[in-house]
Symmetry: C2
Subunit: 442 residues, 2 copies
Amino acid sequence: MKNKNIQKGFSKLPVSEKRKIAASLCDDAAAAINQMESFLHPVPEVQQVLEGLSENTISNYPLPYNVAPNFIINGTTYMVPMVIEESSVVAAASSAARFWASRGGFHAHVKNNKKAGQLHFLYRGDINKLRTAMPGIEEFLRRYAKPVTQNMEKRGGGILTITLKHRPEVWDHYCQLHVEFDTKDAMGANFINSCLEEFSEGMKSYLRATAGFNENDYEPLMAILSNYNDQCIVHVNVSSPLELLEEATKELSAEDFVRRFIMAVHIAGSDVSRATTHNKGIMNGVDAVILATGNDFRAIEAGAHAYAARSGQYRSLSTATVEDGIFTFSLDMPMALGTTGGLTRLHPMASRSLQILGNPSAEDLMMIAGAAGLANNFAAVKSLTTTGIQAGHMRMHLSNITMQLKATQEETQKIKDHFAGQKVSYQAVAAYLDQLRNNQDS
Amino acid sequence: MKNKNIQKGFSKLPVSEKRKIAASLCDDAAAAINQMESFLHPVPEVQQVLEGLSENTISNYPLPYNVAPNFIINGTTYMVPMVIEESSVVAAASSAARFWASRGGFHAHVKNNKKAGQLHFLYRGDINKLRTAMPGIEEFLRRYAKPVTQNMEKRGGGILTITLKHRPEVWDHYCQLHVEFDTKDAMGANFINSCLEEFSEGMKSYLRATAGFNENDYEPLMAILSNYNDQCIVHVNVSSPLELLEEATKELSAEDFVRRFIMAVHIAGSDVSRATTHNKGIMNGVDAVILATGNDFRAIEAGAHAYAARSGQYRSLSTATVEDGIFTFSLDMPMALGTTGGLTRLHPMASRSLQILGNPSAEDLMMIAGAAGLANNFAAVKSLTTTGIQAGHMRMHLSNITMQLKATQEETQKIKDHFAGQKVSYQAVAAYLDQLRNNQDS
């Protein structure tokens, strides 16, 4: 049994010591240390930046850094950096981008770009009196939070609206201030949280210092941003007359292709089991851009899926229609992200991604990530409704299998040739490789 | 204006050529190439594995590989690998794990571990006749899919149930076969998709060859796994008598701490804006383990958030109660993952993670990732309801800020000392650093 005892003071140990302890849990401890070290960046200053991002960092975990060319969005051509480990995502995005490039590209706009946060509290006093006082309270809070907001205001952002909500059905005396923010090109998490914490203190000050109120009626509970960004929505669509879709697939006429495509998207709008995977396919593209640009994919994921459930049923984020002979495929989803602050400039490859994209504003990046999401969704639904997902997927996956089987380059080529027109499965490839090797031996 | 023209045949170019084209979009093209190359793994065979995972790979994107020690789960101590770029996640997980280690640790079990998939199709014939024939159809399909299922069956898994659903309210003639699978220690995406594609062909064969049916009544639409894994649920909880929670915080009595904690979790069960962020905090921990073990975080995210909306309102995935003086904090969530297949053994650091975890089964890993989720949720709610999220968060974020400001080690130490008891903001740190540097100059 390996040493899995409780570690005291672990976080204070030098990195090399932490690495040694983690490696000691492996059968090949010495090799484990070498391996972890092999993934470090050769320049100590760069490695220090990476280690500074987290805690108890003992190595780096590399994800493939890829680019999908030929994304035309509102007339501008982008090469989109995508960080993703799933074999078919970049190929699918690239292929959809190229397909739409000759059909007008992606059309996108930002519907709105407001972030939100909440101060949750109990108020045991007269709620009507508090409500009546709100204009004065709001003015007080805005002044109170000035030290936190003034820099954001210089950049044109700041606090937008402050709304008092009283919801005793949730909990006795439960209230919240629901606050909207403009955080410009920043995702704004730290700004929003700091503002809300100032508000929490400010409320107390106001109630203490204002005649007719008692600070003891107020119990602050939590002050934090919300990732439910239903007021921070990007719209992306692709659109084409049916006659330009004749070449969309080998198998189907444009009409049949569009009929089946629309039906598939409609089913994802009605069936939760299908909707979940449909939206997962959108997020394959979105998250790859989010990761590549140093944004927080958990935030985007949570916001997107909660938004997909806003009607009371979890549904597809995309819709497809045909009207007057024009096929349109659209995506509307929350996309609260930044191109300044956080990791966006700090992580060397995130910063590089922003340069490859021509240093986009946050709104530009919302459209780019949205386009990547729609592209992946288009490619997935197209595959599903025509050749099936496995044909392309397993072809991409074939190289994973050959690596797992430790096939030589020569063997890999033979395997690829053999499986060009055939069904791929791990078992089939393993069997074929066995056969290759046995033939060689004999 | 940079060259952003349409790239023809991009995917066929050598990696170095692709890298050059991407770099040409940057102001410092030569430096960009050097930088991208600097992130490659020094051993060509290892780099080849990473590049084989995706398409158009031109570099690696390193995420910090971290460990959180002291996770006791069902009596076993784990050091949990977490791949995450957000500064407070590993620290929060470690601190919650240590806190609960002295209070019995995490209790976890897998409620069920079934995966699902769907064959979507139109059936224009007599649906009642089809329904009546289902036992025979099912037997036929199971035999038809044997070449795909036999290996999984050897490992004890395979097809579980096959259910015909007729849903004409979604689309005229729309039906699906909803199929449940046991995929043992594999996530099983390829297996499930391959099975369902066999079913799609199998249906056609059955209808062609069986008297009274007509294959032309059948139009297959899509065959694909579902990420809505409501039959693949892990439960994790922590539990403690109130008297052992006196030291939970400096500020509050155990009773007050628990009252506020439960209220906060309850609000996340009622308010979508709060629920989204609450669940995002759970996913911070879950995804870090998912990434570290080579699983697919988009799949887990989609499944988790869609499940959070199953009641018709999007709610918290965790619940907190106090009964008979015992505080219990629980998490129930879908967690469809694998410890074999996919990237789990292929990515060298994913494989390393599984070794550090003692080569867990898929069910073990479900519990470990769930525990990381609950730990991060506990730490976040605890911070929010006591000191506020920003105190800890900004302290962690302080090193990001000092890096951004390119503070020397000496300056960083002075900054850390100065801000030990103070509010941290980018502006405040920048101002203090200016002051430090000006004093030095004078």
